[in-house]
């Protein structure tokens, strides 16, 4: 992964000093609430229902064991012993004291981490496929491009006061969208054309109040011009984005209002001026970045499916099930990627304790070159595990509660913190997630159902990505009471697609029975090997609507 150079360290220590001074001036009354707000937000600090929330940046999801241990230490010393994996691959703390944040940042800086631009109206953490670099389907590793973008975006002086937050994702898998680039402000697709690397650039996607899938703005941007092209888009957005109405301020509204054609023309005009200028990327720099993500010291003598693995698969049913659910193929023969599901019933999706962070750090060290990755589904991946080590690793994961064999299944839900923590919520999400997990606790049944994405948000800000769940659940408020609206047919699996509303919203105690009825309909109607969402696409919304609102069921 990216290892800091001296200048990166210098930058972070200066940042810590700057924020320490800003916090001091705020506490002394020299900075008003309003003035401190964007400063603290650009450092990932929200003021929440009970306490501030601090969002720590995890660039493109990569974490070392050293960093995991520090995250654990922070949870222990400054929080209540928990951290939370977010849908943008970051780590969040729900209970730090404002006064302690400078010390937390100093601790993070020791391990080359920070909270820069994890929130606020600036360019946020760049995200990508959690299997980046190990996914056999990708055309090249997207992470060097992510790091190049990260550095360009960090404290970019022109884009620190944008109309609204700005999120960029990079994907290098053709014909699939594991990084959800379709629903980001800018989505960057790595493509090869005539032997040259370039990018298809989308703009104007996003979830939230007005969910949209982005439009292709740049069809093929050759690699040296990546940053100039991004800068051109950002400049158009900075100049023409709506600043009068927060709800119309995202780039998706601008792209929609101008139309993709006009937006493209404005971008091209800016790009014409920047192209071939000093920010043009050099082969040297790209090589240096690639060097940071070089292949770990794999044992290249390993074959696929070693005897130890085959034996364990044959003799242990639970391991076999987990293997088929939570283990992903790897581009390197003899290795596999393992997903630790943070979705144990009774625990908020994505929550992880200080001790568990330490345990994951140890396991990463023993089994995966001391590296782990966070996922947008709020799980953690050990990316480079030898296949002959899968069984001993599974035993340890099982003991820790990370081996729930439900990856991508109905109980592997994405859920935002909702009304339990978030002051913007219209309804709770965590208890709904838990009720679903309790109802669907039969593993055989879950496996029979196959992959179903259930995504839950406590309000229309869509932190839980409900729009792109096969089944989306959105908390709504009606006359001070909590209700839940259901959407169907959203996708964040192969492509990004926004779900359709089923109809009037439901009481909290109706959510589980309604989902059960929808799932029943699927089981009755599916063709062999057909996913829930494919059956939905084939049948359309009507039969699902009928079943969901049928009272004789």
């Amino acid at each position: 992964m990216y290892v800091y150079r001296p200048h990166d360290k210098q930058l972070l220590s200066e940042r810590v000093a700057q924020f320490r001074d800003q916090t001091r001036r705020y506490l002394d009354g020299q900075l008003s609430n309003d003035e401190f707000l964007p400063l603290r937000l650009q450092n990932g600090l929200y003021i929440q229902r009970y306490a501030p929330m601090l969002r720590v940046s995890v660039p493109y999801g990569m974490l070392s064991s050293t960093q995991l241990r520090m995250l654990g230490r922070i949870a222990r010393e400054w929080d209540k012993g928990y951290a939370h994996v977010s849908t943008r691959q970051n780590i969040q703390y729900n209970w730090p004291d404002l006064e302690d944040v400078p010390d937390i940042l100093a601790a993070l800086a020791e391990v080359e981490m920070h909270a820069i631009q994890t929130s606020g109206n600036c360019i946020r953490n760049v995200t990508t496929d959690e299997f980046a670099g190990i996914n056999a389907a990708e055309i090249e590793d997207p992470r060097p491009w992510c790091e190049i973008i990260r550095q360009w975006a960090t404290f970019n002086p022109e884009f620190a006061y944008l109309p609204r937050k700005f999120k960029i994702a990079v994907n290098a898998v053709p014909d699939a969208d594991p990084a959800l680039i379709g629903v980001h402000d800018i989505g960057v697709q790595v493509v090869h054309r005539d032997g040259e690397t370039g990018f298809r650039v989308l703009a104007g996607g996003g979830l939230g109040r007005t969910p949209m899938v982005g439009e292709v703005i740049g069809d093929f941007v050759p690699w040296p011009h990546l940053l100039s092209y991004l800068e051109a888009i950002l400049r158009v957005y900075n100049k023409y984005g709506n600043r009068d109405n927060k709800y119309k301020a995202r780039i998706k509204i601008l792209v929609k209002a101008l139309g993709a054609e006009k937006f493209r023309a404005l971008t091209e005009a800016e790009f014409a001026e920047l192209k071939d200028g000093p920010m043009t990327l050099t082969a040297d720099e790209v090589d240096t970045m690639r060097g940071h993500f070089s292949t770990p010291a794999y044992d290249t003598a390993l074959g696929q499916r070693p005897a130890a693995l085959e034996e364990a698969l044959a003799s242990n049913k639970a391991f076999n099930r987990w293997f088929h659910t939570n283990v992903t193929a790897h581009r390197q023969p003899g290795y596999a990627a393992v997903t630790l599901t943070l979705k144990k019933t009774g625990r908020a999706p994505g929550d992880i304790t200080d001790e568990e962070l330490d345990a994951v750090a140890d396991l990463a060290e023993t089994y995966s070159f001391a590296e782990a990755r966070t996922t947008h589904q709020q799980n953690i991946v050990l990316g480079d595990v030898r296949q002959d080590q899968l069984f001993p690793l599974w035993e340890k994961l099982d003991a820790l509660g990370f081996a729930t064999p439900n990856l991508k299944l109905l109980t592997d839900m994405i859920a935002c913190p909702g009304g339990d923590f978030c002051s913007l919520a219209n309804a709770k999400s965590i208890p709904i997630a838990e009720a679903i997990q309790r109802h669907f606790d039969d593993m055989d049944y879950l496996h029979d159902l196959g992959p179903i994405d259930v995504n839950i948000s406590g309000c229309m800000n869509a932190c839980g990505h409900h729009h792109i769940g096969h089944i989306g659940i959105l908390g709504v408020d009606k006359k001070g009471r909590e209700y839940y609206q259901i959407t169907l047919g959203g996708r964040g699996d192969k492509v990004s697609k926004i779900g359709e509303k089923l109809g009037p919203s439901f009481d909290a105690d109706q959510v589980v029975p309604v989902i059960a009825r929808l799932v029943d309909l699927y089981v009755e109607q599916r063709k062999p090997d057909e996913l829930f969402v494919d059956t939905y696409e084939r049948l359309g919304i009507e039969p699902f609507k009928e079943r969901a609102y049928a009272t004789d069921h």
Binding site: E35, A160, M279
Partner: protein
């Protein structure tokens, strides 16, 4: 005399900034260096150009392109930040310097605060009228928040990977 930060030091400010309302109340433009709104400049362009001591203030939504033919005659362009959160002025300043090669003073006025200065100087502002209720000496420190930057900027267009 009021003071501003200019080219990294605190100096007396010789310029008088007049908004549309103040101008309407006057019979004629006063002597001495003045900053006028874009609309006033456009209405009186020829006579103002001849004076050589008149600057223009751009508001958010008024792009530097409106002055494309005038830069040779302009000693100063001010950019107003009615609220510090409105970041359009950052792109305008950058355009003034890089697209139009403007060499005169680029001055930040309005809601100008210490914690934005580091960014502002990097996009091409070289003068800052600090909000009246703030300590200008304290604000000066804001110009020195960082010694490292990743991207190129108006003062040094080379990003870090070209700065060997």
């Amino acid at each position: 005399m009021p003071q501003i930060i200019k080219d990294g030091v605190i100096v007396d400010d010789t310029w008088q900034r007049l908004d549309a309302e103040a101008l309407a109340a006057l019979q004629a433009l006063p002597d001495g260096p003045v900053i006028v709104p874009l609309a006033y400049w456009q209405a009186h362009r020829e006579s103002l150009k001849a004076r050589g001591d008149v600057g223009v203030c751009l508001e958010p939504g008024e792009e530097p392109a409106a002055l494309a033919d005038d830069f040779a005659a302009l000693p100063l362009v001010a950019i107003n930040f009615p609220a510090f959160k409105d970041g359009r002025g950052y792109s305008y300043a950058r355009e003034l310097r890089t697209r139009y090669g403007f060499k005169g003073e680029v001055r930040a006025v309005g809601d100008v605060l210490r914690d934005q200065l580091f960014y502002m100087q990097r996009v091409g502002f070289n003068a800052f009228v600090i909000r009246a209720d703030r300590d200008i000496h304290d604000a000066l420190n804001g110009l020195r928040d960082f010694s490292v930057t990743y991207q190129g900027d108006v003062n040094d267009p080379r990003p870090i990977y070209r700065r060997h």
